[in-house]
């Protein structure tokens, strides 16, 4: 070989080896803290964590399950911190409901005192004491007015007995026996009116199989049969609201028959036929998309839509019109740990030339820059800086224990194993106080409106590293901005109070009467448009406010707002006033 050829080969080789070091510079997100004034100038907003100072002093506790699971207890008892936003007394101010999971622990309903503070009224109203070994412990809660009396009722889904509480005019609650599962290990629940009959129905997604009582196990064969292809999880329930406080379980009859390990669910009208479609984010496998065929049945479009390939560890389901084109994308969180397991989060974008029941999705998370989270959990879309584009708030972190000791090696060792090994908790190495993707930072991704998101969490004041689970966005103090509540596992709840540059305008719509879940709004302004829907649960064990909140950027006016009510009727509001919460009354 000639000398020059040798030199060329060596230079080429070294150049190839240097490429990752160069590319790494583009992967590093900004990790410096800046003062609030600079954050305001650069990004148009900043957060201040105010939970305790606003009276929300709440720490989640994990359950203590059967001692047979002691070797990996932190891994199993790793869920249950949920948050849902509700205006339970219809005073026009958002309140916060938080779930707890320790046996004997109390859930909390933080009533908005309208002066910047909250007070826990759950105990007085009879919706606190719901976590007992005998009846199970909370995993999350969602609110919906199932009896159409104008007040939202409470559904608490649990590892145990799911409970429904009727809201008595915002002054008390009554437990209702509605025929919901007597015992199931539910990790996701939503309200939605799938048949558009004017009565809210319920979807519940099981995680562990329903025949397991996690406090009293016969044996340790309770784990998924595979890390990415498991179908031995809990069943799914679809409860059709018959009226009069009665529900009928119709999942199989309507085409939902799955035993994947569901961790999150959300519904929105993806096909445009006016009926809510259902997305279920599954751990240990592919996720599922059920398209609603006019309220008559659900069609499993997981594979045909492109979503049902590439199994990962789905943990979130939220919808957002990220490109302001009227099409709802789905954000799904997964697991990413450098060098070990890089699933990447999914941003399922509807393909432009597909529509209706033939809708197709592509995962563009990497292109949009929202794939690398960590061990990701709940996420929500929301225009955090009111610039007219939907941003993403994502929380991360699994088990934070010993900072200097990681369980990842042992975790990775067993999760590749055959089902005879992975399926038995006794085969898993003891965690012994080690962390597993612990102490992870949250991500705040700001949408530039052109298909790219920039991560700014630390720079806008989001620094806490508790093991985040549920995220909910709401305007907590009626200021025309979206605040963020994060429920953390085994840790205090966080409330990020948002301050947004006054140069950016906003407009919001709330419903004066009727059930808002499933309503859809599209606003047109400054040559743009954005579509949002109101959900009866989204993200991970979370529920956002029941209002539409749109950022407007510096636009001075809004051309019109098109509102589609859950029953399909529509209303157009011409030139709605900027920087105002509009109360919508349906024209019957």
């Amino acid at each position: 070989m000639k000398r020059i050829t040798k030199i060329f080969l060596i230079v080429l080789f070294l150049a190839l080896l240097a490429v990752p070091l160069v590319v790494k510079r583009f992967y590093n997100s900004a990790e410096s803290e800046i003062d609030t004034e600079t954050a305001m100038q650069r990004y148009g907003f900043y957060f201040e964590e105010v939970a305790k100072q606003s009276g929300v002093d709440f720490t989640h506790l994990a359950p203590k399950l059967d001692s047979k699971l002691e070797n990996i207890m932190p891994q199993i008892a790793s869920m249950g911190a949920g948050v849902s936003i509700v205006d339970f007394n219809k005073d026009g101010w958002n309140d916060i409901y938080l779930t707890n999971s320790g046996e004997g622990s109390q859930n909390a309903l933080f009533k908005n005192n309208t002066d910047g503070t909250f007070s826990d009224v759950a105990k007085d109203l009879g919706i606190a004491d719901v976590n007992q070994k005998e009846s199970g412990v909370s995993m999350g809660a969602v609110w919906g007015d199932y009896d159409n009396d104008g007040f939202e009722d409470l559904l608490v889904y649990k590892w145990g007995k799911t409970q429904l509480f009727k809201n008595n005019g915002g002054t008390s609650f009554t437990a209702v026996e509605a025929g919901l599962p007597v015992w199931a290990n539910i990790n996701s629940g939503i309200w939605f009116d799938f048949d558009r009959d004017g009565r809210l129905d319920i979807f519940l997604g099981g995680y562990f199989p329903e025949n397991l009582n996690l406090w009293n196990l016969e044996n340790t064969r309770i784990m998924p049969e595979s890390f990415e292809y498991a179908k031995n999880g809990g069943r799914k329930y679809l409860y059709r609201n018959l009226g009069g406080g009665r529900f009928e379980e119709v999942s199989k009859q309507f085409g939902i028959d799955s035993n994947r390990w569901a961790l999150a669910a959300a519904a929105a009208d993806i096909t445009g036929n006016g009926f809510p479609d259902l997305f279920v984010s599954n751990d240990y496998g592919i996720s599922e998309l059920y398209l609603n065929d006019g309220g008559k049945r659900f069609i499993d479009a997981s594979e045909t839509s492109g979503i049902g390939f590439s199994p990962k560890s789905g943990m979130n389901a939220s919808f957002g019109d990220v490109l302001n084109d009227g099409q709802l994308a789905i954000y799904e969180s997964n697991i990413s740990e450098e060098g070990i397991l890089l699933q990447g989060n999914n941003l399922w974008m509807p393909r432009r030339n597909s529509s209706g029941m033939e809708v197709k999705f592509d995962n563009l998370a990497s292109d949009f820059g929202v794939d690398h989270g960590g061990w990701s959990w709940g996420a929500q879309f929301g225009d955090l800086n009111n610039d007219g584009n939907l941003d993403i708030f994502l929380t991360n972190g699994y088990v934070s224990a010993d900072r200097n000791s990681s369980y990842w090696y042992d975790f990775a060792k067993v999760t590749v194993g055959n089902n005879t090994i992975i399926g038995d908790a006794a085969n898993w190495s003891p965690m012994n106080g080690r962390s597993l993707s612990g102490f992870q930072r949250k991500k705040v991704w700001i949408n530039d409106g052109f298909g790219k998101f920039n991560e700014v969490a630390q720079m806008v004041g989001v620094n806490e590293t508790f093991d985040g689970r549920a995220v909910a966005v709401a305007d907590l103090w009626n200021r025309g901005v979206l605040d963020v509540v994060v429920a953390n596992q085994n840790a205090p709840v966080l409330i990020y109070k948002n301050t947004v540059t006054p140069e950016n305008g906003w407009i919001a719509f709330a419903f004066e009467d009727g059930n808002p879940i499933g309503a859809r709004a599209t606003i047109f302004w400054d040559g743009k448009r954005q579509t949002q829907e109101i959900h009866g649960g989204s993200g991970y064990c979370a529920q956002n406010q029941r209002r539409f909140h749109f950022g407007l950027g510096r636009a001075e006016s809004v051309e019109k707002a098109e509102i589609r009510f859950p029953d399909g009727s529509t209303k157009v509001i011409e030139n709605p006033e900027r920087n105002k919460l509009h109360l919508i009354k349906r024209d019957f």
Binding site: M1, T5, F8, L9, I10, L12, F13, L16, L17, V19, P20, L21, V23, K24, Y27, E225, S226, F227, E228, Y229, A230, K231, I286, F309, S310, P311, E337, E338, G339, I340, L341, L342, Q343, G344, N363, L364, A365, S366, D367, D371, H372, S406, Y409, D410, A412, K413, V414, V416, G417, N418, N419, T420, I421, I422, D424, A426, N427, W428, S429, P430
Partner: protein, 281 residues
């Protein structure tokens, strides 16, 4: 993984003589066919790949680099079986969601290493092992390694084990695979005793897909296994399993790759020295 096809430069050592035909097919194509079947079976049954495109990028890059570098350095058109296997191995073993450059780069590094890291006209690292280790070292932010099963039952695994074993046996490399598997199970027992972890936890990795590719394609690669004798091959593979044991005791996730990365070239250098002394004598 480089290739299980016959050496481009035949070495007259009994343990390394590979039949020129198998099942009526040029034996150089056997390994590529097997690994392609595994890929297709895995993808159709369980969707093991993030996308076919990523694997295609790896294969294409591999082949292009092989052709170009072979023309530049040897002025000849190479047999492409080796590059194909390197490419497809990278395409399966590298996990890098929705990113394509990592596949191209890993394949490029793998093939280029073959032409740069040479002693006495032999490349001393298994190309795809080198490429994957390089990426895991240098780009952990963008790359992980295959960490799943072929589905959730024993049947898919059994098919691959049986098919792989038959072919490896016909290629006269089965002793390498068998030695490694036995060593892994034995060392797992000692690891279990030392760490107190369940024995099943220790043997779990070998039931996964990554190990099947590692066992049938990477450690048996004729170009980068020693040629001195069959016992030498067995000794080297025991050493690989032993170094892996050490890495595992230090909780290194990619222990088998790194063990081969270290032991492979050292063994090849010793092999080259011994063979040259033998031929000199």
């Amino acid at each position: 993984m480089s290739t299980n096809s016959a050496s481009l430069t035949p070495v007259k050592v009994s343990s390394d003589v590979i039949p020129t035909k198998m099942f009526g097919i040029d034996s150089r194509f056997i390994a590529p066919i097997l690994i392609t079947l595994i890929l297709l079976g895995g993808q159709i049954s369980f969707g093991i790949l993030e996308s076919f495109l990523q694997t295609a990028v790896a294969i294409l890059t591999s082949i292009i680099f092989e052709i170009v570098l072979s023309k530049i350095t040897l002025n000849k058109f190479p047999h492409l079986a080796s590059a194909y296997i390197s490419g497809i191995s990278v395409g399966i073993l590298v996990r890098s969601p929705d990113i394509y450059w990592t596949f191209a780069l890993c394949a490029a590094i793998s093939i280029t290493s073959k032409y740069v890291l040479r002693v006495k006209d032999r490349h001393i690292w298994n190309p795809s092992n080198f490429g994957i280790c390089a990426m895991l070292f240098l780009a952990p932010y963008a790359v992980a390694s295959l960490s799943i099963q072929w589905g959730n039952n024993l049947y898919a695994m059994a098919v691959i084990w049986i098919l792989g074993s038959v072919i490896i046996y016909r290629l006269k490399r089965f002793h390498i695979t068998l030695t490694y598997v036995i060593s892994f199970f034995v060392f797992s027992y000692f690891r279990s005793l030392y760490t107190g972890d369940p024995y099943f936890a220790e043997i779990a990795p070998i039931t996964g897909a990554m190990y099947q590719l590692f066992i049938f394609f990477m450690i048996t690669d004729p170009k980068t296994t020693v040629r001195y004798s069959k016992s030498a091959q067995i000794g080297v593979v025991i050493l690989i399993a032993f170094v892996e044991l050490i890495f595992r005791l230090f909780e290194v996730v990619h222990a088998p790759y790194y063990a081969l990365f270290i032991v492979g070239p050292v063994a090849n250098l010793v092999d080259i020295y011994c063979l040259s002394r033998k031929s000199g004598a």
